[in-house]
Each structure stands twice: as C-alpha cells, then as structure tokens.
C-alpha cells in the first residue's frame, strides 16, 4: 500500500518541484519518441511470441495424437491389405480410431502439387489410413512388428520425424519473441538513462542552486523521475496503440496463408499490449531513479 501511495504521489506530482527543474526539449522528445518506437516493436514481438506459442501448442497437440499408415501394394491386393491393416489396428491397444482415407481426401492432400482434378482411382498411389490414438497412446514398435508380419506393404508414420523439428522451430520463435521483448526493455532503459543523464547534466546549475537552498537529493531526483516516467508512459501508450492497430490490420489467419497470416492476438490476448506502457513506465522509473541518484552522488 505504501509503494502504491508513493507511486500515486509521484504521478500526481508537485507542480512547484516541476517548475524548479526546467524541461529540456531534446531529452523530452528523445524519451517520448524512443518509448513509442520501442512499444511499437514490443507489440510485434509480443504478437510473434504469442502466435508462435499457439502454433507450437497446436502442432504439438494435433500431431501428437494422430498417425498415418501408408499401404503400398499392387492394385489387386490393395483392398485386402487395407482390410488386414484395419483389423490389426482395431485390435491394437491405444488406438481409438482407424479409418481409410477416401479418394476425395487423398485427392485433397495431393491437390497442392497436382491440381484438383487428379484421377486418384486410376493411379498407383498408396492407400492411407488415419490412426487416432487414445489418451494412453499405442506401442509403435509393437505395432510395426505386427504390421510387418501381417501387412508387408504397410509403413507406419507416427509423425515424430517431422513433428519434433516443427514444434522445436515454433518454440524457438516463441523464445526469440521473449528475448526480443527483453532486449526492447533493456534498450528502452538504456535510452532513458542516457536522456536522464543528459537532462541532469543540462540542469547542473539548477541542481546546485536547489542543493544550496536545502533540497534533498531524493527531492531533486523525484522531479526528474516523474518527468521521465510520464514521458515514457505517454510515448509507450502511443506506440502501443499504433502497434496494436498495425497488428489488427494484418491479414487474418487462414489455411491458405499458413503461419504468417496467423501473426496476431486472439481472444483475451488482445489485452496483453496494455501491459507494455505500464512496463515502459516502470522501466523508466527505475532507470531514471538510478541515473539521477548516481549522478547526484557523483556531483556531490
């Protein structure tokens, strides 16, 4: 409660103290502009992080519970092998459902490469069986052994081979987004520290006079801290609004667009950008306070 009161007191400010320390134009503009730019970038980093997080979770969940059985056999043996495979699968613990993909479904899978009118019935393409696991999953090694004995043309693909790199890539992208956010915060702190140092140097004579008349260092520091915190809040709020609008204007997610069109916020995640100005204000508060107290100590 005490911290909250102090924060509110700081934001409410002391008009007389604010007048005593004159604003320096270029540091004010630098702080607002850099906070706005960093907040704009932070919105995108946040959107990237959340989107890749969703993607990683979705790919992981979707692919983890499904497998594909591919049966390659001469056309006259295809039906027999498919039935045999289904029989094996239906008696395998951990398999919740197994079904033959229809000609239409196989045509849809091949459409991106061969177009929509491919005559799959007359082509020697393998028959696919979709396997859906139950919550316990099945023993892939045991199933492969049984299939090898009873359906020689069957190849089981449990998606592990390409699921893991995809999920790992998405996780890395999410990590990249988080690292970007951290770098943006550090850069914001560095820029605001530089601006605060410049403002303190420009006001060296003001500080000297205030000390001569009995001002405590914390009083002097507070005048700078409040100013820079409010500037960072204002700049970050502007940058966040612009960044959120830009994300809003990105193309909507659709199947054809793939991953890139899904870059944005969904549901309550739209509230996440609201955190950015608050964090920018906190970063500015801490950075300016440290810079001011250190500089005042050096000047004494």
């Amino acid at each position: 409660m005490d911290v909250l009161k102090r924060l509110l007191d700081l934001l409410a400010g002391d008009p007389q103290a604010d007048r005593a320390v004159p604003p320096t134009g270029f540091t004010a503009r630098l702080t607002v502009l850099s906070a706005a730019a960093m907040a704009f970038l932070a919105v995108f980093a946040l959107a990237l992080s959340l989107a890749t997080g969703r993607l990683a979770d979705r790919w992981s969940a979707e692919l983890a519970k499904t497998s594909t059985l591919r049966i390659s056999a001469p056309q006259d043996q295809m039906d027999a092998q498919a039935r045999a495979a289904l029989t094996v699968l239906q008696s395998t613990p951990g398999v919740a459902e197994a079904r033959l993909l229809s000609a239409d479904e196989q045509r849809a899978l091949l459409a991106p490469w061969f177009g929509p009118d491919l005559p799959v019935e007359s082509l020697p393409i393998p028959q696919l069986i979709e396997i859906i696991e139950d919550s316990d999953g099945y023993d892939a090694t045991g199933l492969r052994a049984r299939l090898q004995a009873e359906v020689p043309g069957a190849v089981l693909d449990d998606h592990t081979r390409w699921r893991e790199p995809l999920v790992e890539a998405a996780s890395r992208l999410r990590l990249l987004g988080i690292v970007s956010l951290a770098l943006i915060a550090v850069t914001t702190a560095a820029l605001i520290t530089l601006a605060a140092h410049a403002a303190l140097a420009a006001n060296a004579q003001v500080i000297r006079v205030m000390r001569l008349v009995g001002a405590r260092d914390i009083y002097i520091a507070r005048a700078f801290v409040r100013r820079f915190t409010l500037r960072a809040l204002l700049g970050a709020a502007t940058g966040t609004v612009l960044g959120t609008l830009a994300v809003l204007l990105l193309p909507r997610a659709d199947a054809a667009g793939g991953f890139l069109t899904g870059l944005g916020f969904q549901g309550w995640h739209w509230l996440w950008p609201l955190v950015i100005p608050v964090l920018a204000g906190l970063v500015a508060f801490v950075a300016t306070r440290q810079a001011a107290l250190r500089t005042l100590k050096e000047q004494s």
Binding site: A20, G214, D217
Partner: protein, 223 residues
C-alpha cells in the same frame, strides 16, 4: 552554532589555510575580511557544509560536518541562510518563486501574506513577477537576502553581499543584516569593503576577523 577547530583546507594540493579556529555564537555578528584569494569564500563554504575541511573539525549545530550525509547536509542548510555574491538564482523562475525556493524544496508553501511582507521588507514588492535577469544588481542582492531568511534560519552567511552595488544600496543591505542580527540571528559577512565594516560597527557590536597569510586573526582596532 558553528565551530571550526584547528581547521585546514587544501585546494589543488596547496594549503589555503590551516590551524583555523572560529566560533559563531548565537546572536553574534562577525565580519570576515582579507585580500582576494585568501579563502574567505572557502571558509564560508566550510561553515554551511558545501566543503569538508582537509583536517581539523567543523561542527555545524553540534554535529561533525565530516559525518553528515547528503540528507543531513540538506537539513543543516535549512538552518543557515546564505547570500552568495553571484546570488545563484534560477533564471526561469520569477523573483517570488526564487525567494520561496527554500520553502518549496522542503515541502512547504509560502503564504502569500508572509511572502508579501518579506518582499516589502527588502523593497521588492513591485518586482515579484520579474525574472532574475530583469533585475538590477542591488535588487538581486536584496532578493538573495530575502531568500536567505525565508526559512527563518538561525545563521546568516553573506559572501560579499555588497560587491556589485553602489554605496547607498550597500548601506541598505547592511541595515537589513543588522536588523536581522537584532532579531537574534547570527550573522557572518565576508567582505573586503572596509567602509562597510566601519559603517556596521557604528550600528552593531561586531567582531572583525581577518584571513591573511593562511591564518585567521582578530582584526586590529582600526577596524
């Protein structure tokens, strides 16, 4: 109030003065004189904690100045009004705001009536909304005196307060300082203006100290 005991101060490796003793008792009136560069301003800075003695002990209101942290120095300065030769104003604040600055930085607000009385006392009632660069030398010195006394300090230190003003104005400033002394304030004025000292001795019982050849001595009867 303020005591310097066997104090020395070195500046840039060279000794400015040493073996210096000074006691400013409550209600006393002192002049500090001596040639330019003798260290009068430095001695004043030791008295309000702006500088720390190289050796010896400076006690401000009973506290060793060497042991004061920044906050304690700030608190001590609120008990000492300082009139600087160059006034040290903030040019972006009005005269009234500059005079009220010691109150402002201590979290208090000057009552308009008190401020008006103070400005009237130093004869600056009409200049309240002017900015320091718009004021004459005499007006600036009187404003500096008003700022020095607004916190009702126990001690007033004035560094060449009449350095930039004519004779008439210096007499006016002197009479204000004498008036403060009669109100019980301790006053120390650093000046090289002998005529000012002579004029003061006609009005108040003042001790005159001379800082010369790195030592502080009581001045002769000619002063």
């Amino acid at each position: 109030m303020i005591e310097l005991d066997n104090v020395a101060y070195n500046y840039g490796g060279a000794e400015l003065f040493s073996g210096l003793d000074l006691q400013l008792a409550a209600g006393s009136f002192h002049f500090l004189t001596g040639p330019s560069g003798a260290g009068k301003t430095t001695l004043l800075k030791l008295c309000y904690g702006e500088l720390v003695a190289t050796s010896g002990q400076a006690r401000l209101f009973g506290q060793d100045a060497r042991g004061l942290d920044r906050d304690a120095v700030a608190q001590t300065r609120r008990r000492i009004g300082v009139v600087h030769q160059d006034c040290q104003f903030l040019d972006h604040l009005t005269l009234a705001e500059n005079i009220a600055l010691p109150l402002t930085v201590s979290g208090r607000t000057a009552s308009p009536a008190d401020l008006s009385d103070l400005l009237g006392w130093v004869g600056l009632s009409k200049q309240t909304e002017q900015f320091p660069p718009q004021l004459s030398g005499g007006e600036r010195q009187r404003a500096a005196l008003a700022r020095a006394v607004i916190m009702s300090p126990e001690v007033i230190l004035a560094d060449e307060p009449t350095g930039n003003v004519d004779w008439e104005m210096s007499q006016r400033l002197l009479s204000l300082l004498v008036e403060l002394n009669k109100m019980g304030k301790t006053v120390l004025i650093a000046t090289h203006d002998i005529s000012l000292i002579r004029a003061a001795k006609a009005q108040v019982s003042a001790r005159v100290l001379r800082l010369k050849d790195r030592r502080l001595q009581l001045a002769g009867a000619d002063l």
